[in-house]
Amino acid sequence: MSEKSSSGRDISRRKVLQSAVSATSVSLIPLTSCTTPVSAPQKLLSREAWLILEAFTDRIIPADANGPGAVAAGVPYYIENSLASWNAEELELLTTGLFALTSAARNRYDLDFQLLSDNNKDALLRDMEDGKIDTFENSAAIFSRLHRLTLEGMFSDPYYGGNQGYIGWDLIGYPGAVMSSTAQMQQMGGRLPPLHTSAYGSDYDGE
């Protein structure tokens, strides 16, 4: 049922994705630790789709006064990994959705989505969420799925490629995965100190 190789960190990310995509019974393989995700051409998503996805997640959870956002947390990596694995059935729909989003950006502003100002990105995303873009079929449902995957990437165990450096868990105050908790770890009255621990323990070192 489960899913890891003992020397996961030696495997390059690209190879991981290749093997995940080609395998008939897709399973997840641990990723290289990656504290500063970069926008680089990927194997599963085209560079163009990746840039749109990155810009999308950046507006869902932006970097701001409350700290780093989805991109710094590696959320696009989580999404791509899931689309290479257990969400493979959604790959076509969501990729089509990303291109429909950038088509709408070109129609309205004559620019690719990722090149828009934040205000214009947000205006377009509101219309996407509300299903108000004529040329964009199923935009509300696609927004909903990409939004959900963004949250999953931000707040899941960093084992899956997002929540790098525990950025997501620090934001909401979840200390980290533990195998055992004490009564003190259930005390009210202020936030618990961050533990920065993954359920996959030493198999994953996110920092």
Binding site: L171, A177, S181
Partner: protein, 573 residues
């Protein structure tokens, strides 16, 4: 080509919460038992993770091979075409759904066993819900008490008694029926938030208590106590502190030497002779077909598969399905009216709750608005709901919280600021409503949708109910009062909801009763028509209590197995 195997005393179909308990009294009595299970053994170290993606997003613990192809279809009117659902509560594994359930482990309230007669006596015929097929159970709470006790000690249940032989203890549930002794273990650990809710409950006049759980609160039976890591929901327990049958009763049955478990065995049909008696079961394993003859058959699948297996097992004697010559198989089915039915009360507090860790069964319960624990005169409904406040909050679920109207969209900086402050300050109560069977809700075989073997899947026709939404909404308002007394600033209360079609607490369909024209099983859980076929599971229950059904399912399974042992000669004659 079917391989005929040597006859055994009993074949048990399904080694989950029910079958996994029934094998213990059977094997302890010296009967030779074969347990057939569609799944296999789970490996806690390998299969269970403190990981929301693993358990709740990918459902890796609960997703089995067989169940994926047999999810029932649902329709909301008898003329509509039913649609197959995507999620299902069943699980194939040794231990079954007891592996991933929350392990809240209850005895039903004594009232649950005689709702009809008690209602007629206290409120009159006008209070019997319209269109209900409600009957008193053929057993009383007192009949069940010894079997509840057996389960609590053999499986291992933590809790505090509220009523020992009539002595009321307000540390426990003062509304519970009398029990012969206390639980074998004290309740699970409390925590700050639960203590806070406990005091708030008392301040509004409720009687809060720490609810019982089939989870070790301390070492028991050679296994450790709960570690409260917060991934109990839809996850298995990697330290075996959750007393699923694969770590509790099944190993004890194996230790007798009288239980042979065949995993990955997909039971296709129950076979009968020309007098209608069960002769054994036909199953597939690794693509090969086997016939396992047995003197008695105990069918212990999840409710949906109990019903479907009977309906598929047609013969000259039973042209409409095994034990269905009176057309009762699938009737009186219903899903438990709980959070899945849409009764949600969610509160936002102005302080951090720190309930990330814990377990869903680590909770405070209130029974004041459940069962017949309050006067319903003038209210227009019977029953009610239990209120449960608990711990265990997962980070994705926390961040996906509702926003109580405080921000417009669930994205962007404004929303990020909101969840930064509030993701750890909210909780949703678990409200479970007494639920009854109705004429317009039943299960049968779907005429259009088939499983990978070409057999029809089950179809649920789900009619509207009037009593349950009123009872649930009444209790939801009481929950709202409780949360407000605890200092909640914002509350979303969805009211009574619409009720579920499919449920993790599926009840009925092979109801146990005294009248063969309105029930499938006799008062001991054996088919009225095939007398050596016993049925185990929620499918035999004629009503749902205001609480999780598993311990009652297990006590009934023990009782049915006990009866088989006691009346062996007559039942297998």
């Amino acid at each position: 080509m079917t391989t005929n195997l040597a006859e055994v005393d009993v074949v048990v179909v399904g080694l989950g919460a029910a079958g996994g308990v029934a094998v213990l009294p059977l094997t302890q009595a010296g009967l030779n038992v074969v347990g057939l299970e569609a799944g296999t053994w789970m490996n806690p170290g390998r299969d269970y993770k403190a990981d929301e993606i693993h358990n709740n997003v990918r459902s890796l613990v609960t997703t089995g091979n067989k169940v994926a192809g047999e999810v029932p279809t649902v329709r909301n009117s008898p003329t509509a075409t039913a649609v197959q659902q995507t999620r299902h509560p069943m699980m194939n594994a040794v231990g079954g759904t007891s592996i991933h359930y929350h392990a809240q482990s209850w005895r039903l309230n004594p009232w649950d066993f005689n709702v009809r007669s008690a209602t007629l006596e206290r409120y009159g015929a006008d209070y019997i819900p319209q269109d209900t097929t409600l009957e008193d159970w053929p057993v009383s709470y007192a009949d069940m008490e010894p079997f509840y006790d057996n389960v609590e000690y053999a499986v291992g249940v933590s809790g505090k008694a509220g009523n020992i032989q009539g002595q009321i203890n307000p540390e426990g549930n003062i509304f519970e029926g009398p029990r012969q002794r206390d639980y074998p273990m004290p309740p699970l650990r409390s925590c700050d938030f639960l203590d806070h809710m406990y005091e708030a409950g008392q301040s509004v006049g409720y009687h809060p208590y720490h609810g019982p759980a089939a989870i070790n609160s301390q070492p028991y039976d050679g296994r450790p106590g709960c570690q409260y890591h917060g991934y109990c929901d839809r996850g298995g327990c990697d330290v075996r502190a959750k007393n699923s049958t694969d770590v509790s009763t099944i190993p004890k049955a194996q230790a007798t030497g009288n239980l042979e478990i065949r995993d990955n065995a997909n039971v296709r049909r129950i076979n009968v002779d020309n007098t209608g008696k069960a002769t054994g079961v036909t199953y597939l394993r690794d693509g090969e077909e086997f016939f396992q003859p047995a003197r008695a058959v105990l069918l212990g699948c999840y409710t949906y598969e109990n019903i479907r297996t009977l309906l598929l097992s047609t013969s000259a004697y039973y042209p409409n399905g095994l034990g269905n010559n009176r057309g009762q198989v699938g009737k009186h089915y219903f899903g438990h009216w709980d959070i899945q039915g849409g009764t949600l009360v969610t509160a936002l507090f102005p302080f951090d709750l720190n309930i990330w860790y814990g377990a869903i069964a680590q909770g405070v319960m209130v029974d004041d608005w459940a069962d017949d624990n309050f006067d319903h005169s003038g209210l227009g409904f019977i029953g009610g709901a239990s209120l449960h406040v608990y711990t265990e909050k997962h980070p994705i679920g926390a961040a996906a919280m509702g926003t109580f109207g405080r921000v417009n969209r669930r994205w962007g900086s404004e929303w990020k600021d909101f969840i930064k402050e509030n993701a750890g300050r909210t909780q949703t109560a678990y409200i479970q409503t007494n639920t009854f069977p109705y004429q317009h809700t039943w299960a049968d075989l779907d005429p259009n949708v088939i499983d990978p073997f070409g057999d029809p899947v089950l179809r649920v026709t789900n009619g509207r109910k009037q009593n349950e939404p009123m009872a649930a909404a009444h209790a939801a308002n009481k929950m709202e009062d409780w949360f407000r007394a605890a200092g909640a600033t914002d509350i979303v209360n969805t009211g009574g909801g619409r009720g579920p079609a499919l449920s993790t607490h599926a009840h009925g369909g092979t109801r146990m009763g005294t009248n063969p024209d309105t029930s499938v099983c006799d008062p001991w859980g054996f088919s009225f028509e095939a007398k050596n076929l016993g049925i185990l599971g929620g499918s035999v229950m004629g009503t749902a209590g205001a609480r999780n059904p598993t311990q009652t399912i297990q006590a009934l399974a023990w009782r049915t197995a006990h009866h088989l042992v006691q009346e062996w000669d007559e039942i297998t004659a």
